[in-house]
Amino acid sequence: MAEANAPLLSLRGLTRRFGGLTAVDGIDLDLAKGGLVSIIGPNGAGKTTLFNLVTGLDRPDAGEVRFEGQDITGLSPERLAAQGIARTFQLGRVFGNLSVMDNVLIGAHTRLRAVKPAVPVIGPLLELGLALLRPASVKAEEERLRDDVKAIVARFGERLLPRIDQPAYSLSYANRRRVEIARALALKPRLLLLDEPTAGMNPSETAEMQALVAELKTEGLTILLIEHKLEMVMQLSDRVIVMDEGKKIAEGPGEQVRTDPKVIEAYLGHGLSGAAEQENAA
């Protein structure tokens, strides 16, 4: 059924309720291969919940998620990762006691083949045996992935490379965000979900991050982005979706959305402080 120009990711009527609160309310979304769509909206609009639904950390009460035309609604995060969906987390979830190298290697976990033979039932036992015996194929695979990780970490320039053997808990906040993105890239994702990648970064760090995301887009990666810094959103996105109280209230090219009265209402209606924050960020 996968047509030539079918969207890579499409959501239909996606809904998630927590008790009386509808955190995500009938969201439709299409993301073409190689495209970059941003989701903006006030705090509590349901953006991160939407990410959780797409990546399998939470299950929708209604609606469906399609990836390359296949229904992936409610699949486990492990399965979705294996299909090539990678994400970063809003508050940062690096593995604190693992080195930068090991953190990013975990990102490449779904690419392990030699040490993880796809055999049913006894597969895990073979994995244990191969991990202990380490035949040449397993060693070669590990070496290949390590080289790969170094190349990915090198994309962040001198920020991360000198610290590659340090435990992640010793890194600065911005560097931990970078490790998360490096980990996501190590999965060689077909779809990348970035949840506020520049949160807590200063202007120059934000600019670096923006340049990196632009570069990833040029390389053809499909990206779904949650971001509060409107300037970045305007420059990067093919399309912008605005959420408020779980609903999609506007969708379209950046400039059109920016002047939409409903969008301005949503931000101002949630208190001037929120709007002021947006202006500062922009």
């Binding site: 959780n52 990546t55 939470d58 987390f89 593995f95 006691n97 290697l105 975990i106 976990h109 991990a131």
Partner: protein, 607 residues
């Protein structure tokens, strides 16, 4: 029919007693998200204070109750102030370990003061029975019911109408918000620990009177039962704890009615495991909850592990390998053999609790499975001992992993509860499955260690055998840790949600960790069985589980060399200082407390 009414009354009365313990646990969990493993020790203290009051001071009943409540509350306040408050900003596992340490210290202090022999605790009430319907009820039943209902009412009034009660409820809903609104969380904690301890103490005294007997084994049983009732009702849910307790009392009472007394605890722990698997948030929680927030604190203490150079390790191995050739006494070899056996168990536990973060409190069950398998195979099938020990390791790996698997979906403190319960279940099955395990009689005449047809009789040969097995297991584990499995295990420990998002299946990797760790523990148990020549269901008990945990924390969680260093230190140092056996457990408890407080990363650091 009348006997059923009796069993119902008995179930409700016992449930009432559990409720006094469980409500305290629920209050504490509500405010500080901590399962207080020391609750049973306070219950024990309550029972013995009651004994002192009744037998030595001859106080009247109301005064006895007040005295017990006050002393127990004081103990609770001391635990909160000196045991737990210093750990407020510590890693998440620290307070749990501290309550385990406190419980060991309190139990041992009671045992040293009053001797481990059971004592009678007379009830001071007239021994008459009233006919109720078809059953009978005595004054003590009424007293227990009365104390239960009165405490529930007092607690309700306190929580509902007093200012401090409001603060307790606010803090249990949202601790941070309560603090920002000016609630003094330390005072709330004090209040909660004081109340919980008073209820626990009175409960211990009432149970002592009910069975007219108190002994130090009551403590662990009370903690377990209270935890079961609390988890069944939903952790932190006070009315839920009451209902869970009554339910537990009834389930036990009917279970005893149908199957017999030795099944009582089995029903309690099966109920716990079923609830944990089907409704981990308790019977009264909504089925689906919001996904948990990202965890702010790390589970284990971050540290830079001490790297011991390869030549130093090789030298140490060489020294210990040639030790039997040197003029050392039999006694030294014997002590070190014990250290190597404990070292194997610690290797297993440091992988499971340290590397993949599943703090198991029932690890001795794996020893028992290995020991029974090896002993029975060599006795009944005449399997060579070497093969039987390997079979014991494999059985521990397989059976242990299957038994633990219900807990794979649980997190944090719940894992500890589940493993504790599963450990108890294993011991109870061994006790009750007489056709296979020979029940309470145990297994005697287990053939001695032998290898390729040669019996290992001399201490030196046993020493070499145990040492070699341990070194091989340690090398294998070190190799495992340096593979992709090592980083996968540690990633799951640090953040299981992020790990899943990157394709790591929790079931798969937790199983692999338990399979590998189960093998090491099973081999240790197997060797022990042939060394002791006699085992029963109590040979491998919770004390050993906790000792192994102390060893692992002493060495540094996940640290292979640390596990062995810890085992040698905890087995060897008491021997060096010739510390009497009854003080050792006390010292282990104190060591655990000091470690958690001052060096949570252990001697060599967590990995």
């Amino acid at each position: 029919m009348s006997s059923w009414l009796d069993y119902t009354i008995n179930g409700l009365i016992v449930g009432n007693v559990y409720a006094l313990v469980a409500v305290g646990l629920a209050l504490i969990f509500g405010v500080s998200r901590l399962i207080n493993f020391a609750q049973g020790s306070i219950y024990l203290v309550g029972a013995y204070i009651g004994w002192v009051a009744v037998v030595q001071l001859h106080t009247p009943l109301p005064l006895t109750i007040i005295l017990v409540a006050v002393v127990a509350a004081l103990v609770g306040l001391i635990i909160e102030r000196f045991g737990l408050r210093p750990l407020q900003n510590s890693v998440r596992i620290a307070p749990l370990l501290a309550t385990i340490g406190i419980s060991f210290v309190l139990d041992q202090l009671v045992m040293l003061t009053f001797s481990p022999n059971p004592r009678a605790l007379p009830s001071q009430l007239p021994d008459v029975r009233f006919q109720v319907g078809g059953g009978t009820i005595g004054p003590l039943d009424l007293l227990i019911a009365g104390v239960g209902i009165t405490s529930a009412l007092l607690l309700f009034v306190f929580l509902r109408y007093s200012k401090l009660g409001w603060a307790v409820r606010a803090a249990s809903q949202d601790r941070d918000a309560a603090m920002q609104m000016g609630v003094d969380v330390n005072r709330v904690n004090q209040a909660v620990f004081g109340i919980a301890a008073a209820l626990g103490g009175v409960s211990g005294m009432l149970v002592g009177m009910y069975y007219n007997q108190i002994d130090t084994a009551m403590s662990l049983q009370a903690t377990l039962k209270g935890v079961v009732a609390e988890v069944v009702g939903g952790a932190g849910n006070v009315p839920g704890a009451v209902v869970g307790s009554l339910l537990l009392g009834l389930v036990e009472s009917y279970g005893v009615a149908v199957f017999g007394t030795s099944y009582r605890n089995l029903f309690a722990f099966l109920l716990l495991v079923v609830v944990l698997v089907l409704r981990p948030n308790g019977l009264f929680a909504s089925a689906r909850q919001a996904p948990p927030e990202p965890l702010t604190g790390t589970f284990i203490a971050p540290s830079r592990p001490l790297r011991i150079p390869c030549w130093a390790l090789s030298a140490a191995v060489a020294v210990f390998a040639i030790l039997p050739l040197l003029p050392v006494s039999f006694y030294v070899l014997q002590t070190l053999i014990n250290a190597w056996l404990l070292g194997m168990l610690a290797l297993s536990l440091t992988l499971v609790a340290g590397t993949i973060g599943q703090v198991s409190l029932g690890h001795a069950a794996l020893l028992a499975i290995g020991a029974y398998t090896s002993a029975l195979l060599s006795l009944t099938l005449n399997l060579p001992v070497g093969l039987a020990i390997i079979a014991g390791g494999l059985m521990s790996a397989a059976l242990g992993t299957i038994l633990i698997s219900p807990s794979f979906r649980l997190r944090g403190h719940y894992v500890s509860i589940a493993t504790l319960a599963i450990g108890e279940i294993v011991s109870l099955v061994i006790l009750n499955w007489e056709s296979v395990t020979r029940g309470p009689i145990g297994i005697s005449g287990i053939p001695p260690l032998s290898l390729f047809g040669y019996d290992l009789i001399s201490p030196a040969s046993i020493y070499w055998f145990a040492f070699a097995v341990m070194v091989v297991l340690a090398l294998l584990q070190a190799r495992l840790l340096s593979s992709h499995l090592g980083r996968s295990f540690r990633a799951i420990r640090d953040d299981d949600i992020a790990a899943r998002a990157y394709g790591l299946s929790l079931n798969r990797y937790k199983s692999l960790a338990f399979i590998f760790g189960g093998f090491a523990a099973g081999v240790s148990g197997g060797i022990a069985a042939h060394l002791y020549s006699y085992i029963n269901h109590e040979t491998f008990n919770t004390q050993q589980s906790i000792l192994a945990l102390t060893v692992v924390i002493l060495g540094g969680l996940g640290n292979v060399v640390g596990a062995i260093v810890g085992a040698v230190a905890l087995v060897g140092l008491p021997e060096v200082f010739r510390i009497a056996a009854e003080y050792r457990i006390l010292i282990y408890g104190i060591v655990l407390l000091l470690l958690v407080r001052f060096r949570p990363q252990g001697l060599l650091g967590t990995i």
